[in-house]
């Protein structure tokens, strides 16, 4: 009997420890990497460097948050990178023809939302696997922007537009503020509203969600629309940052970075499990690693290797639970 109690206690302690680990492993990993980075290079902890990192990750960060919602619903959105280039190009064209920053923003958001809606309809009503549907959109969007720009770049002709990515309030640049705001928004949406709960339910067990009278199709359409709208926001920042969009290389492989951040953040590939804050720290981990490698003069050709290893290690560690 004593033996039994002892075993129960040990099991509970073990369960508790593994729960803590599964909840906070990303943050622990992030802190470890920050400490290592700080020890390796004195400049790392400087205010300039830290805000620099945040600004660099803000675009991928905003996309990753949208990707998190899609992946929690059990899907994936491969179109984000190509859509970023397409929407960025459209935004600049709208800007140049109307000379209005507001109209450019509206055009970008409308365009993004529409593409997301299309993705959502294909996945929910058309019952096409999200991988396939968004792969198709990825190819189509990239091809369209290449055609529109005739393979080259589209540049902005309104000075004010560049303020979006390069302006700041109180020493904090707009992209950082936007990234933090979107993080907060997605956090509240996913953890405090019925919509968020439905997304988790659908990702975990779509049939049970439907049999619980959830409008699964509408939620899914909402999920993809939301993701592409965030991509549109990211596209505005990206096009504003350089005041141009390259039809061939803008947003290239962003979907991989976004998926990597979501996975490092602990979201399960098949959906239903994961945290918004996990993705936030996943994005930061990738940013800090890139920054550290730059500071340490690691060849940029090797940075992909490190990123790849980190993804695999992160998933291996999460498997433990």
């Amino acid at each position: 009997m004593l033996n039994q109690t002892e075993r129960n206690v040990r099991q509970q302690v073990g369960a508790r420890a593994s729960w803590l680990w599964s909840e906070y492993s990303v943050i622990v990993a992030f802190l470890v990497i920050v400490i290592v980075a700080a020890l390796a290079d004195g400049n790392f902890l400087s205010y300039t460097n830290l805000t620099n990192i945040l600004r660099q990750v803000s675009i991928i960060g905003i996309i990753s948050l949208g990707m998190t919602v899609v992946m929690l619903s059990g899907g994936i959105d491969l179109s984000v990178g190509a859509v970023l280039a397409f929407v960025g190009g459209i935004a600049l064209l709208a800007l140049n023809s109307s000379q209005s920053v507001t109209l450019a923003l509206l055009a970008a958001l409308a365009c993004g939302a529409l593409i997301g809606f299309l993705n959502g309809v294909m996945v929910s009503k058309g019952k096409i696997a999200s991988f396939i549907a968004t792969l198709g959109v990825m190819a189509a969007a990239r091809s369209l922007i290449l055609y529109i720009a005739n393979g080259g770049s589209i540049s902005g002709e309104v000075e004010a537009y560049t303020l979006i990515a390069n302006g700041e309030i109180g020493g904090i640049s707009y992209p950082i503020i936007l990234f933090l705001a979107v993080t907060l928004l997605v956090y509240v949406l996913m953890h405090k509203t019925p919509f968020g709960r439905y997304v988790y339910a659908i990702g975990s067990n779509e049939k049970a969600a439907l049999l619980s009278a959830i409008r699964v199709d509408r939620v899914k359409i909402g999920v993809y629309t939301l993701c592409s709208s965030f991509v549109a926001l990211a596209a505005v920042i990206e096009s504003s940052r350089l005041n141009s969009i390259s039809s061939a290389s803008s947003g290239l492989a962003y979907e991989l970075d976004a998926i990597a951040a979501v996975i490092i953040g602990g979201t399960r590939m098949t959906g239903g499990r994961g945290k918004v804050l996990g993705t936030f720290f996943g994005v930061l981990i990738l940013g800090v690693l890139n920054n550290m490698m730059n500071l340490l003069n690691v060849s940029p050709y090797l940075q992909g290797l490190v990123k790849g290893l980190i993804i695999i290690i992160a998933v291996l560690l999460q498997k433990k639970e």
Binding site: A201, A208, A209, L210
Partner: protein, 502 residues
């Protein structure tokens, strides 16, 4: 050697719930041993331990007189134990011999398959079993019973000395069952011991030599089949107090609540009509493929009907989505809880509030306090055993999970409740609680439909019983006329009433 297998004091828990509490089990050479017990009694856990799938917390296993540790399925297999699961592990797109040698193919020294040799050996084993079957036939073209035979032949090929058969006859016709019984007798005479898990006592009494009954993870009895009878076994299985409780309470019926006219959905069901009153409990039963689940999936909006009409309180309603059903006051507690009703990554609270979630909204956000208040009220009302609202739903017992699913629909005030196999995978005590709950709900004026293949369950609760056969209602019986035999006649389609009066 008296016993080929002795399991002593086997104990196993999951999430601090003891599923097996010191169970002993002995198997003699060349016997057919029935392992009996209700769902959740611990049969499959015990057999998974024997099959090496699970490792016991405590206890000893002696195989052919030697202590063994069954640390994995391959260990059990190599020691001559073969486990034939209820869902057969046969690949239907492969041929018979390919299935028999799956994972253990014979190859020559260049690594090529030795097809002729494999076919020859497969043929030998099959003919030893008295089965004439072409080893090169594709499994998908064979009857269900042959799949079973392929599994058994594979076990023999692996020189199994102990074969565990889990509910081997569930998907078989009478004729196929006869074949299987003959095969089991052949196996037995060649010295193979068989552990036979079944709910069908008739089969057990016709084929088995000895029995072991488990109840709530404990040994409830063991002995010679010849020294016992069905009644005694049943009592061991359910514990005598529960077996003969009378749940049924007569109550006044109210107005017609749900009426279905000429509803059809090819190929599942045709021209189904019935009326359900306030406070009434209707039973729907039949054999596999009778279409009753699909019928109610249609009424609930999970499936599209091709024709017919559904009215609630006399008003026609269009139900194209479960949300429409919810608005019409229809709730659905589906079968196969794990696949259809439970969000396994969520807590008890989150599962319970899922359907009614928008009711707790304040300024677009979920009001935690109202959500929790709902949890506590149902926890008390339905006597749900859960440590706290944030306990994962999967750590609850089947009965408590079922109550959570029911709470989802009570919270949205569904007054028509459809239960599909409500006591599937639920232990005896919880079963009884669910029956009481259903009766109570009916007494409060809820209209209830129970779909079940277990006729005794239907007879315990229902005011009227509809029997379906291949998508049509063949009979409608008042409680007073309903008995197992009548129901069976309608279910197999021998008797039919044409246009059913009720």
């Amino acid at each position: 050697m008296e016993y080929v297998l002795r399991m002593k004091g086997i104990t196993k828990s999951f999430n601090n719930v003891e599923v097996l509490k010191g169970v002993d089990f002995q198997l003699k050479p060349g016997e057919v041993h029935a392992l009996l017990g209700e769902n959740g009694a611990g049969k499959s856990t015990l057999m998974n331990i024997l099959g090496g799938v699970l490792v016991p917390d405590e206890g000893q296993i002696e195989l052919f007189g030697k202590r063994v540790r069954l640390s994995g399925p391959h260990v059990s297999k190599s020691l001559g134990i073969s486990f034939i699961h209820q869902e057969l592990n046969v690949v239907s797109d492969l041929r018979v011999y390919e299935n028999m040698f799956l994972g253990a193919e014979l190859t020559d020294r260049f690594g090529f398959l030795r097809v002729d040799e494999m076919c020859r050996r497969a043929y030998d084993v099959l003919s030893k079993l008295g089965i004439s079957l072409d080893p090169k036939a594709y499994v998908r073209e064979l009857d269900a019973s042959f799949r079973q035979i392929v599994e058994i032949a594979r076990a023999l090929l692996e020189e199994a000395r102990i074969i565990i058969m889990d509910e081997p006859t569930t998907s078989l016709t009478d004729h196929e069952i006869d074949n299987l019984m003959a095969l089991i007798r052949t196996l037995k005479s060649s010295g193979v011991s068989i552990i036979y898990i079944s709910h069908k006592l008739k089969e057990v009494f016709s084929i088995c030599d000895r029995y072991t009954v488990l109840r709530d993870g404990r040994l409830a009895g063991t002995g010679e089949i010849a020294d016992t009878d069905e009644e005694q076994i049943t009592r061991m299985m359910v514990g005598k107090s529960v077996a003969d409780i009378n749940y049924y309470r007569p109550r006044p019926l109210g107005a017609p609540l749900l009426s279905v006219t000429q509803l059809s959905c090819a190929p599942f069901f045709r021209n189904v009509s019935f009326t359900l009153h306030e406070g009434e409990i209707l039973g729907f039963t039949g054999l596999a493929g009778d279409g009753r689940t699909e019928l109610f999936e249609c009424i609930f909006g999970y499936r599209r009907a091709a024709g017919g009409e559904i009215s609630v309180y006399g008003r026609p309603v269009r139900i194209a989505h479960p949300q429409d059903a919810l608005k019409a006051g229809i709730g659905f507690v589906p079968k196969n809880r794990k696949e259809n009703a439970i969000i396994k990554d969520m807590s008890v609270l989150q599962n319970m509030s899922l359907t009614a979630l928008k009711q707790y909204r304040r300024h677009l956000l979920i009001d935690d306090r109202r959500e929790r208040a709902m949890y506590w009220s149902y926890k008390e009302r339905l006597a749900i055993k859960a440590a706290d609202p944030h306990t994962p739903i999967v750590s609850l017992s089947g009965g408590n999970q079922q109550k959570v699913v029911l709470a989802k629909w009570l919270e949205v005030n569904a007054n028509i409740l459809i239960f599909d196999n409500p006591t599937q995978g639920i232990d005896v005590g919880a079963k009884s609680e669910i029956y009481h709950l259903i009766m109570q709900l009916a007494a409060q004026g809820k209209a209830i439909v129970i779909l079940s293949s277990e006729v005794p369950e239907i007879l315990k609760l229902c005011d009227r019983v509809f029997v379906m056969h291949q998508g049509e209602i063949t009979g409608c019986l008042e409680r007073s006329q309903a008995d197992e035999e009548q129901i069976m006649l309608y279910a197999i389609g021998v008797k039919r009433e044409g246009q059913v009066p009720c």
